[in-house]
Subunit: 473 residues, 2 copies
C-alpha cells in the first residue's frame, strides 16, 4: 500500500450506517454462531501465513518472534471470546417469577438479560499491530457482545491492517453474514476520529493509545447530543516499589528484571514500568545503572513515536536534581537509547513531570529516605494500570499501608514480578483510575472486557415464546 489517507465523512457515514443496519441481524445470531464467526476470524488470520508477520514486522520494526507470539494471542483472544459468546453467562441473566397472590400487590414476572449496546467504534493502537489493532481485544469483545464494529485503523501499520481486515471480512462472508458487522475507516487527522466518535449510529467507543488522544475522544463522546460510553485505555507510569528485604535478598536480579521489563519491546507497552521507588537503594542503583549503560538502542514503531520519546526523555533529564544514565547510542530517526533517570523523593514531589508517562524505554528511580517515604510517593501518584511491589513477606507485613494506598490507585497489583507480560484470562484487569483509563469499572483485556459493550433489559410478564432463549426457563 503506497498511500494511507483520511476516510471522507461520506465513507465514515457509510461504515457507521452499515454497522447500524447489520445490528439486528447480528443480534439475532445464536451464541454458537458468534463463536463460529470468531473462530473463523482466527482461522482466516492464520491463513494469511507468514506474509502477515512479515508485513507487520516491516511496518512496526517489531521482530518476527514477537509478532508470532502476538498473532497467537490475537487468535486466542478471538477464540476465548468465541467460547464466552457460546456460553452466554456474560449476560448475567436472572429470572424472578411472579407471585400472583402476594399482598398488598401481586409480584410480576421479571427477567433480566444483556443486549448488545449497538455499533461500537474501536481505535486501533500502534504498539500491538495485531493484538490491539484490527482484530484485537476490543474488536473481539465487541463482536462477542454481538455489536458490529467500525474500527479506525492505526496509521503506523496500514498494510497489516488491510490484510487483517480482509481476513475478518472473509470470515463474515463465509457465514453469509452482513458485511456491516465489521468495517474500517482510516485516518491520521483528529477530524476522522471525532466524526466517528460523534456519529449517531455509534453507541460506544473503545480506544487504546495516548492520554491526549484518548481524552479528546472521550470528550467528543460525552459532549454528543446523546452521550455514549467511551472506554479509553491511555497507558500509565506503572510504579514499582522495592522494599528493603527484597533489595537485600535479590537486588541484582531485580536490577536485571527491571532493565528487561523497561526495555521489552523498546518500552512500547502500556504496562512499561516508568517509575521505580526505593529506599536505601545505593547498591541496587549502581547495578541498575550498569545494566542501562550497557543496554542496546532499539527501533521504535515510528519516527514520530521516537521523536516524542526523545523529547519526553529530554524534559525529564533537564529537570533540576535529575541524573541520567543512557544506553548505547542510537542511529536513525526511529532509534532511541534506553534511559535511566534518578532523583530524590523531595525533588519528585516538586515536579509533576514525573507523574506523566514517557512512552518508550525510560524509567525514573526515585530515591527515598525512610521507608515511610514510599507511602508518601504512592499517595502522590495518579491512577495507573498497574503497581508492583518487590518484597519479602516480612516487608509486606511491615508495609500494609503501602499496599492499601496502591489498591486505590491501580487496576492490577503485582507481587515480586514485572508489570509487562499481561495474562489474558477471566481474572485479568487491565484498567485503573484516571488517567490510566476513563472508567475504572471496566477492563480492556480479559473476559470482562465484554462488559463495556452490554446494556441490560428487563422483560415484565412476557409470554415465554417472546423471550430471549436464556430467559425462557
Amino acid at each position: 500500500m503506497t498511500t494511507y489517507k483520511d476516510s471522507t465523512l461520506e465513507e465514515i457515514d457509510r461504515a457507521a450506517n452499515a454497522a447500524e443496519e447489520a445490528s439486528d441481524a447480528f443480534r439475532g445470531l445464536s451464541g454458537a454462531k458468534v463463536a463460529e464467526l470468531l473462530n473463523g476470524m482466527a482461522d482466516a488470520i492464520m491463513d494469511l501465513g507468514d506474509a502477515l508477520l512479515e508485513t507487520a514486522s516491516r511496518e512496526s520494526s517489531l521482530p518476527i518472534p514477537r509478532l508470532t507470539g502476538e498473532r497467537l494471542r490475537t487468535c486466542n483472544q478471538l477464540r476465548m471470546f468465541g467460547d464466552i459468546a457460546r456460553a452466554g453467562t456474560f449476560k448475567r441473566s436472572s429470572i424472578d417469577t411472579a407471585i400472583p397472590d402476594r399482598k398488598p400487590l401481586p409480584k410480576p414476572d421479571l427477567r433480566r438479560t444483556a443486549l448488545p449496546i449497538g455499533p461500537v467504534a474501536v481505535w486501533a493502537a500502534s504498539n500491538f499491530p495485531l493484538a490491539y489493532s484490527v482484530a484485537g481485544g476490543d474488536t473481539a469483545s465487541a463482536l462477542a457482545a454481538q455489536c458490529p464494529v467500525v474500527l479506525k485503523t492505526n496509521p503506523a501499520h496500514p498494510e497489516t491492517s488491510a490484510m487483517t481486515a480482509g481476513a475478518l471480512r472473509k470470515a463474515i462472508a463465509a457465514l453469509a453474514l452482513p458485511a456491516g458487522i465489521f468495517g474500517t475507516v482510516d485516518g491520521k487527522s483528529p477530524e476522522v476520529s471525532v466524526a466517528l466518535a460523534r456519529h449517531p449510529a455509534i453507541k460506544a467507543g473503545a480506544f487504546t493509545g495516548s492520554l491526549r488522544g484518548g481524552r479528546a475522544l472521550f470528550d467528543a463522546a460525552c459532549s454528543r447530543p446523546d452521550p455514549i460510553p467511551f472506554f479509553a485505555e491511555m497507558g500509565s507510569v506503572n510504579p514499582v516499589f522495592l522494599l528493603p528485604g527484597a533489595l537485600a535478598e535479590r537486588g541484582e536480579a531485580i536490577a536485571e528484571g527491571l532493565t528487561q521489563s523497561v526495555n521489552l519491546g523498546v518500552g512500547q507497552f502500556c504496562t512499561c514500568p516508568g517509575l521505580v521507588i526505593a529506599s536505601q537503594a545505593g547498591t541496587f542503583a549502581e547495578q541498575l545503572r550498569k545494566r542501562f549503560s550497557g543496554a542496546s538502542a532499539g527501533t521504535m514503531l515510528t519516527s514520530y513515536i521516537a521523536a516524542n520519546f526523545r523529547s519526553g526523555a529530554q524534559k525529564l533529564g533537564a529537570l533540576p536534581g535529575v541524573t541520567a544514565t543512557v544506553g548505547a547510542a542510537a542511529g536513525g530517526e526511529s532509534q532511541v537509547q534506553p534511559q535511566l533517570f534518578e532523583t530524590q523523593s523531595s525533588n519528585f514531589f516538586a515536579h509533576e513531570e514525573f507523574l506523566h508517562e514517557v512512552f518508550g524505554p525510560a524509567t525514573v528511580l526515585v530515591h527515598c529516605g525512610a521507608a515511610a517515604e514510599l507511602e508518601r510517593v504512592a499517595q502522590h501518584l495518579d491512577g495507573s494500570l498497574t503497581a508492583t511491589i518487590h518484597g519479602t513477606p516480612d516487608d509486606l507485613r511491615a508495609n500494609r499501608g503501602l499496599l492499601r494506598i496502591l489498591e486505590r490507585k491501580v487496576g492490577r497489583i503485582i507481587f515480586n514480578g514485572y508489570p509487562t507480560g499481561l495474562e489474558v484470562c477471566p481474572s485479568t484487569q487491565h484498567g485503573g483510575p484516571y488517567p490510566a483509563t476513563t472508567d475504572p469499572r471496566f477492563t480492556s483485556v480479559g473476559s470482562a472486557a465484554i462488559d463495556r459493550f452490554l446494556r441490560y433489559i428487563c422483560y415484565q410478564d412476557f409470554p415465554v415464546e417472546f423471550l430471549p432463549q436464556e430467559l425462557q426457563s
Copy 2:
C-alpha cells in the same frame, strides 16, 4: 426547619473530605458489618415513627398511605442491600491459579475482585421523599459497595431529609463508625451541585431528576480534570403501544388502567406513561376521554413543579393538530388538572415536543392508521426507561418487529401491564438509553444498582494472607 439554604463551598469541601477520610476504614469492614449498618439504618428510620410520615406528607403533599408504602420500600431496599453486602457475590470474584510449568511462559496467579470506587455523590429526587432521597436506592447501593456518600438534599422536603439523615447518622454512630460515611449538603442553586460533582474527593455520582439537571451534572463530571462515572436517571416518556386484539378484548379496562397509571401520584413517577400509541382507537379514545374528563385535580410536590407541568402541558396543547381533554379544575398554585392530548401520527412526526417528557399527569394519545405505523412511531422515539405493549399473543406474533425496535430503545419492557409500580429485585432494570439515563449499562433500582459503584482490581502472585477474604481460596 424555617430555612433551607445553600451549603457553602467550605461545607461541601468538609463533607467530601470527611467521606474521603472515612473511605479506608469503611472499605475495611466485613460484609456482615455493612449489613449490620444498613439494617441499623432501616431500624433507625422506622424508629422515627409517624413523625417522619407526617413531615414528608406535609412537605410533599403525598398522602400518608403512599408514604407508608414508600417507607417500607426504603427500608426493604436498605435491608436488601445489606443482604447483598453480606453475601459478597456482587464482587464477581474470580481466581486463576498459577501454572508454573506452562510453556513458553509460566502462568502467574491472578485473582480479581471488586473494590468500592470511592466517595459517591448522590442527588436526592423530589418525587420520592424517602425511597429516592436521603436513604434511597442510590445511598443504599453505594453504602453496600462500601463507598461513603455525600448526598445533596432535595429542597422540596428539607425537614424529611434532616430527619432521615439524623437516623442514618445515629445508625453509624451506634456502630462507632466514622461519621464521614454519610454526609449531606443542601442546595437550590446549580453551583452547589456542580461544586460537589467536581470535588476531587468524589469518585462517582448518581442523580435522579430532570434531563436538564442530570445532563448539566453529567457534563460537569465528565469535564473534570479527572472525569468520574456519573449515572443520571432523567425520566422518560414511557410509550405504551396498544395492539388491536387487546383493544377489542379489553379496551375499556385498558382505558381505566392507563388513566390510573398516568394519574398515580399526580403523574410524578419516572415511569409515568406519557405516550400512548394505537391504531383504530376510536372507541378506546372515547373511553379514555371520558375517564380523563372525570379525573380529579391533584396537588404536585411543589408549586415550581406544578408551574412546569402547566407550561409543558400548555405547549403540547398549543401545537397544531392537537386536541385536549382536561380533568377537574384545579385550585391553588400547586394543584394541576389531568390532561389527555390526542394527535395523528403524521403530526406526531412533525413536532419534536412529543418526544419530551412533561412531568405530571398528562399523556398523549397518538392515533395511527395501519398497524405498521406503530413501528414507525417506535423507530422515531428516543431512549426511555420503559415501553409497554398491550396485546393478545396473536397481536404480539404479528408485531415482532415492534418488539425488536422497542428492545433497542428501553430498559424495561412490559406486556399487558403498566409501567408505574416498579418491583425491586435482582431482575429489575431501571435504566435505558439516553435521554432516559446517561449510561444504559447500569440500573439505579434493583440489586444491580451496586455495579455503578464498583471498580475491579487484579492481584498477581500475592501471598494469600495479603489478599481480600474473598480471594483467599
